[in-house]
């Protein structure tokens, strides 16, 4: 019934999972980066700079996946008032924003050798840019209130509104893109992508996922401990 009873169970099982997740992250990212940088073949058109794709694509995928997770956690928090779900949503946001920023920066770096400009208004990059602003708005909202629980609840509503809007925004940006037709350099060729490129990509994606899980669990744990600390202080003041 009281708030932190559930979190104790969470602390227990996250404590057992965390070391394994961390080890797996290091292994996967290590293997993925090695494959990406040294083993995978250069692109016949773009040369070595295609290797940025191995960071750019997984981070794009993480950016949207994390937002989806945030929305799911927010839904749980709103419907069942589950205290850990609240915190989970909140702590995922900076990580998602980080992946989004990584995607934007690598996208910019990837474009420079090809087009000589630091930014291309490509459909995907533009969508990710808007996603970045959605993350920033969320983070600003949850920190905008003196009372932390108010911010978390408001953020939950915003996350759900955002997740409904994401497909709409993606569609409208694609629509806009076809009207104005700048060249897209990020075509991966879908199912025709070579297997030698697919493996490093998949491993990097998995590595990124586990990186997120590791960092997420760490952040939730420290948030729970901080909440406990605040309760202790309140108790002392009482």
């Amino acid at each position: 019934m009281f708030r932190l009873a559930n979190p104790n169970r969470f602390m227990q099982w996250s404590g057992t999972i965390l070391p394994w997740s961390a080890i797996a992250t290091v292994l996967l990212l290590g293997a993925g980066l090695y494959l990406a940088l040294f083993v995978a073949p250069p692109d016949y058109q773009q040369g070595e700079s295609v290797r940025i794709m191995y960071v750019h694509v997984p981070s794009a995928y993480m950016a949207t996946t994390v937002y989806g997770l945030m929305a799911a956690a927010s839904a749980v928090a709103l419907i069942w008032r589950h205290p850990v779900a609240d915190i989970a949503a909140r702590e995922a946001a900076p990580l998602g924003a980080g992946f989004t920023l990584l995607c934007l920066v690598t996208g910019s770096l990837w474009g420079k050798p090809m087009w000589g400009t630091w930014w291309v208004w490509d459909a995907r990059l533009t969508s990710v840019l808007v996603l970045f602003f959605l993350y920033l708005g969320y983070i600003a909202l949850i920190n905008a209130f003196d009372e932390p629980t108010r911010g978390a609840r408001a953020g939950a509503i915003l996350a759900l509104v955002g997740v409904v809007n994401l497909p709409i925004i993606k569609f409208s940006v694609d629509w806009w893109n076809t009207l104005h037709q700048p060249a897209s350099i990020f075509r991966l060729g879908g199912p025709t992508i070579a297997p030698s490129m697919l493996w490093p990509l998949a491993i990097m994606a998995l590595g990124f996922t586990l990186l997120f899980v590791t960092l997420w669990l760490m952040r939730i744990r420290s948030a729970l401990m901080a909440a406990k600390l605040r309760a202790l202080r309140l108790q002392q003041a009482a």
Partner: protein, 221 residues
Amino acid sequence: MPPDQTLRTTGDFTGQGLACRRGERLIFRGLDFGLGPGGALVLIGPNGSGKSSLLRLMAGLTPPEAGSLAWNDSDIRQDPGAHRARLHFIGHSDALKPVLSAGESLAFWARMRGTSAPIEPALARFGLADAAGLPCRYLSAGQKRRLALARLVGTPAELWLLDEPLTSLDSDAAAQLLAAIAEHRAQGGRVVLSTHAPIELSAAPRLSLADFRPTPAELLA
């Protein structure tokens, strides 16, 4: 009150095991109460003990951290609209717009509750008949308070939840309020109010919020 606006008084308003959390602080827990037709409850306690919080819980503005509220043995969460329709809640703020007149303000709240009966009798009950045409920004604090309270008699409702209604009222106005409360109770209506000052209300048990303060151990749970 006009004869066609009568109260339907059925069953008890009860609360069991209520707990309230504001932000991250547990304010009270394990609170029970029961209110039958014609009943009244006076909430007392120091500032911060949760008098306003309990009233807001009863109104359905805040969901309880634990416990439940029931009207006639059915949980109020099952039909929030019906619960809102049966209560009047007068909080600390007067909910008055400076550019609307006293009469317009009262008429607005009455229309929103679905009655088109004239509001002049309600204004007169609280001595505001002369102020009906005045914009609210010209009313004194006491007049504003009386205007807020006049909503109680503008439309019928079985349950009155009043948060420190006596503040800013002079003795005449306080008497008007107590008379309105007595008439409401005589017709089977119920009242819950919080107060700092002593108040004479017959057959009204006092509920001291301080009795339900959580222990230091519970604060940490």
